[in-house]
Symmetry: C2
Subunit: 379 residues, 2 copies
Amino acid sequence: MAKKARKQEKTEVTLTSRDKKTLSSLRELAGSVIDSAERGRAPFFDVPSRSLSNVRFNNSRRIIEMGSGTNRRELFNLSQAKSYMQMLLVGSGCKQLIEQGKTTSIRGLYYLLKHTIPGTREETFDEQADCDPIIEDSEVTLDALREELHLYAKSAGSMVGPIVLVDSGDEIDCSRMGSGGYTIPSIVEPEIVQFKKNQAEFILHVEKDTVWRRFNEDKFWREYNCILTHGGGQPPRGVRRMLNRLHHELKLPVYCLLDNDPWGYYIYSVIKQGSINLAYESKRMAIPAARYLGLRSIDFERCQLNPSVQIKLNDQDIKRARQIAQYPWFANKKPWQKEIELMLKNGFKLEVEALISKDISYVTEQYVPQRLDEEDFLD
Amino acid sequence: MAKKARKQEKTEVTLTSRDKKTLSSLRELAGSVIDSAERGRAPFFDVPSRSLSNVRFNNSRRIIEMGSGTNRRELFNLSQAKSYMQMLLVGSGCKQLIEQGKTTSIRGLYYLLKHTIPGTREETFDEQADCDPIIEDSEVTLDALREELHLYAKSAGSMVGPIVLVDSGDEIDCSRMGSGGYTIPSIVEPEIVQFKKNQAEFILHVEKDTVWRRFNEDKFWREYNCILTHGGGQPPRGVRRMLNRLHHELKLPVYCLLDNDPWGYYIYSVIKQGSINLAYESKRMAIPAARYLGLRSIDFERCQLNPSVQIKLNDQDIKRARQIAQYPWFANKKPWQKEIELMLKNGFKLEVEALISKDISYVTEQYVPQRLDEEDFLD
């Protein structure tokens, strides 16, 4: 009986103010269909264009933004009818999730919506790849983050430091989370995660969990009074949004320790200015004031590293480096041009882990403290 | 000054009893070299063979074990000299880590040991792939888990439930860990992780974090009083070792909810009997009494699923399924033969997420409760 009682409790769902806003956007979208039908007009949506041509760098805000271009998607157009209907399906799935107070992965939403249309052999979605762009279209059309549609990505990223937060009602003291730290969830909106008490003075974001672990084991965050995060490579949305919230709400500077390679530069640019793919989320993800702490192309000489740690640049690396040098936000920064040129001249890249060849704790006891002390960053 | 004082404290390293044992094995290995030299004999190691021919299924213990075959590796043998010296290098690196009370990733160890041999153009290791098998050789030769050599793998796996544990001195209440749960670290040996208070009655292990999240969100573990874990696909060593310790030390049954495909079967067999690659770790990893809760090949009919959720088996799947059916521990189990045959006959596989097509919470409210209630498992 106790079990049943608990189950019935579950059905009472408390909608957050954000949920109500998202539901209202969803209803508006559906209402436009009814409206068109009643007025005898062909139903359509105007979907903000996610193509490269509709993305631009906003020089004053220093983030990548979407332009105002839209694509019309019509029901009575043979080439658009399917994606039109798929978008309504995605909307109805998200409405169901929000109303039930549940979340799911994009895989889960795909299965929730996948079925054979009665009387035909036509599938609503043939595979996941058919569903994913429709989800992104829905995000931009509804101006709602994926997480606000109750969809989440895989969690990949950890955090440790002198901060206490509340996650889904549980109080989490990030200074007492053992060796693994606090897993940064995919959804860190204020309705889920609140900051309760912070004593940290800055954030050190490192690329990989292996590096993070070195810093955690050496209790770097305790000595330097900072929050230590990693994103498992390219940080997922949850990690980027967490960094953004910590930076803006708690006024914490963000320093990034990434590999000295095009991928490291790219990760930095995504954290700082946002990405082209998710340009519509930049305003809540990007951190224009983030700083690049290293590794730098000068480090091979500066730190007197052994030539064995060099990894030769391949053609792909060289191509990517040249592309990145052309990004508007790097193109007019002399220190970045010098940095990228020197890497190309070096002909090799360096991983943060290469510093271990100096000493196991060289990175935590020498490299990062020196950069912080000398305020020696790239912007 | 306070900072310096703290730094000096760090140098005092407390060795655990396990550390002392590992160091003594390392000294014994090095001693054998000196011993051979002093006696004017050619130095060698006998490395337990990790080849398939030296792996067997122990019918009474129901785990995969290594046989007693060894390969001799000699210093004065042109084809073996390099790997002989590499093994001494790995040993010296691990000794350094243990004595300093630090851990690192296999990538970190590679960088720690990588250098050009003076007076030559020869590298100790050309790439990571040269170092990894030597680490595995060292594990079997020293009879020490990788974690005991102070090397760790990437953490990938979470846990939630009514259990309180201590990780690196921090008390962790796994029932109050927010939406992300407790990250299962790579090293969960008793020196690092202790179980303090347990109220759970069993463990539900699911394959993927997306499924784990559904169960966590629905507070399944609270209603059914269990520990909920996932391993991000094929569970890494830390997760397997954690399951093993929870099972053996706290006497908790383990139920596995995996995809209905050859990969799901394989994950189950690894959790249950160990893997061929890590046969030398089976005794501390395998859980012969683990049960397979689903998904099953009968579920398409039993749960009346929509044909859209079927994923056609490809040639690789069919080949793998036939191989797995021949594994000694599956070969003489009729229910498993029937299970695999039916999958092949069906011609399709099913992901756990497919159950969402019934209802978002069908898996937590119907599927798993019914299996548990009817004790309907495969062994």
